[in-house]
Amino acid sequence: MNAIATPAAFTPAPGNGHRLLEVEDLTIRFGTSDPVKHLSFSIDRGETVAVVGESGSGKSLSALALMRLLPRNARIPNGSIRFEGTNLLDLKDRQMRAVRGRDIAMIFQEPMTSLNPVATIGAQIVEVLRLHEKLSRKAARQRAIELLDLVKIPDPAQRVDDYPHQLSGGQRQRVMIAIAVACKPKLLIADEPTTALDATIQAQILELLDELRRKLSMGLLLITHDLGLVSRWSDRVVVMYHGDKLEELATADLYAPERHPYTKGLTQASIRLDEEVHYTAQTLAEVKVARSPDGRNIYDVRQPERRSLPTPATDREQLLVVKDLSVTYQGGSKASKALDGASLSLAKGETLGIVGESGSGKSTLSKAIMRLVNAQEGSIVFQGRDISRLGPQQLQPVRRDLQMIFQDPFGALNPRKTLREILEAPLIVHGVSNPAERRQRLAETFEHVRLPSLVADRYPHEFSGGQRQRIGIARALILRPSLVICDEPVSALDVSIQAQILNLLVDLKTSLGLSYLFISHDLAVVQYISDRVIVMKDARIVEESDHRTIWRSPKTDYTRALIAAANDKGGRPLAPRPQLHAAAL
């Protein structure tokens, strides 16, 4: 165990004339708790600084504090935020409004909801230009079109009158960037700007941000949880955990050996496609943070022992065979094909990964197999029986063997029910009427997902995201299914939690003999857990191969593009990781 409590010191060198922003000793307080404690960092002109941390680290709150946009019940008891020498915390509201949008601009994580749905994108850009640059309506509109061109929206003169819902997620984020850079700010804060976007779009958005940073010589503060992104796009990195700044370092040193254990844990727990890690070869490192008796955090990185896997039999029984499955959604006057002639098969004990970008039909495929949506054509043979035409009554016993784990650990559990009620409900539905037996099954399942069984009478909101995902897994497993469909099970989780859940899923698969249909947009995760992989695009399956072949010699251009986007988030070349795992397989 390598434990440390004092963050490594790092002093940036550049002269003070370049200093754009200087945050010193900043504390943010809600009631009695301090989600950000004594934070200090600085940004120079034209520099990109990344603040990295998992949820609850206080990174987003710190960004909001720079704009003085903290929620009303937050206070700043001490500290200063100096922007070009002026302490922003001393400004009057009116003066601060003159800084927002003109000198410091911000873009947010959710491009889908960050634009006003009832105003045209042009109007939303014009608004900020009219406010700060006092342009006439006509001149502002002209500038808005130029800005849309700058952020590479095709046909800007036409699109300027579009409403946000007529644009894709990536385009909306471009509009957000256009609004942010409209008044040529000196500092741009990007709070998880690409988290909600597909991999291919992510790279484009970051390229755009970096290009604009150079063109307008802005300082860029990049708030993110994605280490891969940080290592390619930033000059310096600030690592935060639970409101504390753990260390500040030059990006090139991110993978150097003598880092803070938490940073090291993060870099090891996050899996990269080009490292070809596979579950048969190794487990994922888990970061554990414990509180020592004197109130300090003790950070520990641990790699669980390699598990013994049963040797895969050569010809195994087919559990699921799907043939020519098609789903068409009727929306108003026109029908849209959400799934077009999909065929796949899954053997007992196998994990089939499904990758594709949003809208490619992966979720529709899983819902169709679960019979949550009806397929118009095709067959689903599960355990030797075609379930594609069964009525609700006949489906009931089948559902016991066919369970699902959902993406959102917060939305998937009924907040008004205790864990016991959530977990026993499926047992009651499936006729386990003996309370003693239900209790025993509950205890057994809790043990499987490594939750203490004394938490059974608590409510979901008392648990963290990772724990809730364990509950979601427990809910699926309590019926002892043979096939579990995992729909983006780790996408909403932090890197360190993601590693724990993936390790858990692999362990459960081996010990309970499960088969998984594993859906994800994250190629590295699918690479780690899958035996075979399917690639989907525009409602069709475009490629299928075993887990080695598909990454090394992809057959279609689309798969190549996906791999390229995942491997290369653009920007600077990635520093190789020293002393890490021996290459898998």
Partner: protein, 328 residues
């Protein structure tokens, strides 16, 4: 994409849906009214006090009340097809003329009440949202609860007691100074003075609803991401509230306002009686008491048309307010 084609589509859809709705309403109303005991002849004979079997039979055959029910329905539908609402035995007038006299009064009263309700309701709701959880919010919410729970006729009477009897500021009933020949601006002011109290008592119930609805809608919109974007642009809280929050909060409120037109027509009966306002509501009331079903059917048909029209207006307003509606 401009909003005109979307609005045209919304309008066409509404008209197509309205036709079967209206036919259904007419037939349903006809049979419902047949369920009520007695007819116009009974009431008129009772009021005259000296009718014989023969005169009653004569009256019934003159008004077509002795025909089988289906024939009566067909005769009424035949009238409708010829754009006639029939003839009122009691008033000895064409029903359309009778309604034509009363309709403008009720429409202005309703329009006024709706305008007052929306104006005050939106203002109070915005205030409540701005001060959510603090003293102004609590106070206004107590008042809105009061308006919501107190019956309209009682509020009407109390307003008369306060503003007409005690203070003497406003007239207590009627729709204009009798015998006055005011015209132009003075005439409008005179009419408005008579309308203030009835419109207010009709509106207060809806003020309460809109205030609470606005508060809830604004609190919901206020927490959305695009509001944070608006603040990050450097806009002042007032501009953010009006241009970004209220604009989005209006969408659910217009839906409710459209649904309330029908309810207001019902409330108008009470208010028109309290303020002796010559409107449709009172005509409907008198028609019920006199078993004058032709008049009643005419009013019901007109009311349903009014509700359909109001909904169409709301649909168009929604399409205009929310660009996401009507695409496909």
């Amino acid at each position: 994409m401009s909003s005109l084609p979307r609005i045209a589509r919304a309008l066409r859809r509404t008209v197509l849906q309205a036709i079967p709705t209206v036919i259904g309403i007419v037939i349903l109303n006809f049979f419902l009214l047949q369920l009520a005991p007695g007819d116009a002849a009974d009431v008129m004979a009772g009021e005259a006090g000296s009718a014989t079997e023969e005169t009653m039979a004569a009256m019934r055959s003159r008004f077509g009340l002795n025909l089988p029910m289906l024939d009566q329905l067909l005769a009424y539908l035949n009238n409708l097809v010829h754009f006639s609402l029939g003839f009122s035995p009691r008033y000895s007038m064409q029903v359309s003329d009778l309604i034509g006299q009363r309709l403008p009064g009720t429409l202005t009263l309703m329009a006024m009440a709706l305008a007052i309700a929306l104006l005050i309701g939106l203002t109070l709701g915005s205030l409540m949202a701005a001060f959510a959880g603090r003293l102004p919010d609590r106070l206004i919410s107590i008042f809105s609860l009061l308006f919501y729970s107190v019956p309209g006729f009682w509020i009407g009477l109390m307003l008369i007691v306060l503003f007409s009897v005690t203070l003497g500021w406003l007239p207590s009933g009627g729709n204009g100074t009798i015998g006055s020949d005011l015209s132009g601006w003075a005439g409008i002011v005179d009419k408005a003075r008579y309308m203030v109290l009835p419109a207010t008592s009709l509106a207060l119930f809806y003020v309460a609803i809109y205030a609470r609805l606005t508060r809830a809608a604004m609190l919901e919109v206020r927490n959305q991401d695009f509001v944070r974007t608006a603040y990050a642009k450097g806009l002042s809280p007032a501009v953010v509230t009006v241009k970004h929050i209220l604009r989005n909060a209006l969408i659910p409120i217009t839906t409710m306002a459209g649904m309330h037109v029908g309810g207001m027509l019902g409330g108008a009966v009470v208010v028109e009686t309290v303020y002796s306002w010559p409107g449709l509501g009172r005509l409907a009331f008198e028609a019920v008491m006199g078993r004058d079903y032709t008049v009643l059917l005419g009013i019901l048909l007109l009311s349903s048309l009014l509700v359909i029209l109001a909904n169409a207006v709301v649909d168009i307003l929604q399409t205009w307010l929310d660009p996401r509606i009507g695409e496909l």
